[in-house]
Symmetry: C2
Subunit: 210 residues, 2 copies
């Protein structure tokens, strides 16, 4: 019933609705949303229907109630504690990224193999990778951001998996498969860029044909 892109769309709805809310709007129509996101209004209504979000015929949808419903769907009642494994440049950048906290996501610790990177006097402590397994178990961590070098990626995933983690957001270039126990979502920045380059070059070719 709920398909792949639906949650990502729901998050887009949320962003837009929060914006409209901040502008003082109280209600919204499916085609207000569909127009700005460039999808069909029936898809918006279908998504809402699938998640049990209802509106009033002629009256549209109440922004406040959609937003609280979305938060409920996403389980925003409790703060999600996330760890970052691999405190290189990208790991470091994500560790201090301000965008997480207002979505109820808290980076609670970083882990790295370099002993001189470990420090516990900062707002987010960085521990040695040896301690990650105990930390996950003791703190019941379910989600991890993986930003280690490619060389140690597989080994690290195995370690995290053995520690019983539930989900990994993987920024390494190695593509990992999910299992029933462990969901791994891969973000390959180089591939995203290569894909963009392909599309842009293709587009240019087609334009010059005209």
């Amino acid at each position: 019933m709920t398909n792949k892109g639906q949650i990502l769309r729901l998050l887009n709805y949320k962003n837009l609705l929060k914006h409209l809310q901040s502008l003082g709007f109280k209600k919204v129509f499916s085609d207000n949303i569909s127009d700005t996101l460039e999808i069909s209004s029936s898809l918006v209504r279908k998504d809402f229907g699938n998640f049990g979000i209802t509106g009033n015929r002629k009256g549209g949808y109440d922004i406040d109630s959609i937003l609280s419903k979305i938060d409920e769907i996403l389980g925003k009642d409790e703060i999600q504690r996330v760890i970052i494994v691999g405190v290189g440049r990208i790991g470091e950048a994500l560790m201090s990224y301000q965008g997480f906290i207002k979505e109820g996501i808290q980076i609670v610790a970083g882990f790295d193999i370099e002993p001189d990177k470990t420090k516990t006097d900062t707002s987010v402590p960085i521990y040695h990778i040896d301690k990650v397994s105990d930390f996950i178990i003791e703190n019941k961590i379910k989600i991890c951001i993986l930003t280690v070098p490619q060389m140690v990626a597989k080994h690290t995933v195995d370690l995290l998996s053995a520690s019983g983690i539930g989900g990994i957001l993987n920024f390494t270039p190695i593509k990992f498969q999910s299992t029933s126990e462990l969901t791994i979502n891969n973000i390959n920045i180089v591939h995203e860029l290569e894909n963009l380059i392909y599309v842009v070059n293709k587009q240019k070719e087609n334009q010059s044909k005209t």
Copy 2:
């Protein structure tokens, strides 16, 4: 004919094939690829077919020729010059990211509004944002990575668009739509993480139901 995920799959094929090549393999069968990537072998064959990659019945595909064909498809004959706009933590991390160069992508400059961030004595120079428009035009830059703060995202996209850039890889939380002139691919890290959290929590629920 060529569909949305196809190029990203092609890049996955490339990674896998390079790995197999490094292990000394000369040829590969569609189900070798499909097994490791957990897709169907017919999809692999169909992708290959769509891109004009042919194999030998019974004999499989020749790894060397697939790889050179893929590079040809991706236009890897020339180095792609890319700029980064917004040298905050993420921009900085991407600027020194080692993964780009071996895929023929070169980060040629960074741009930021902070005057004390500008420096030209480094391997990749950082200029003031005022100079981005001229730089794009003079150097015929087609692709940009956008890592500015949310507040100035829209304004910056307008600026880049007016300078005639062809593609933006957008890391800001604002979702932008592509036009026929300008392709914008959005990577929303917070959304990716929220999506993962949703899936993992859902999974846990379903497991406890059993």
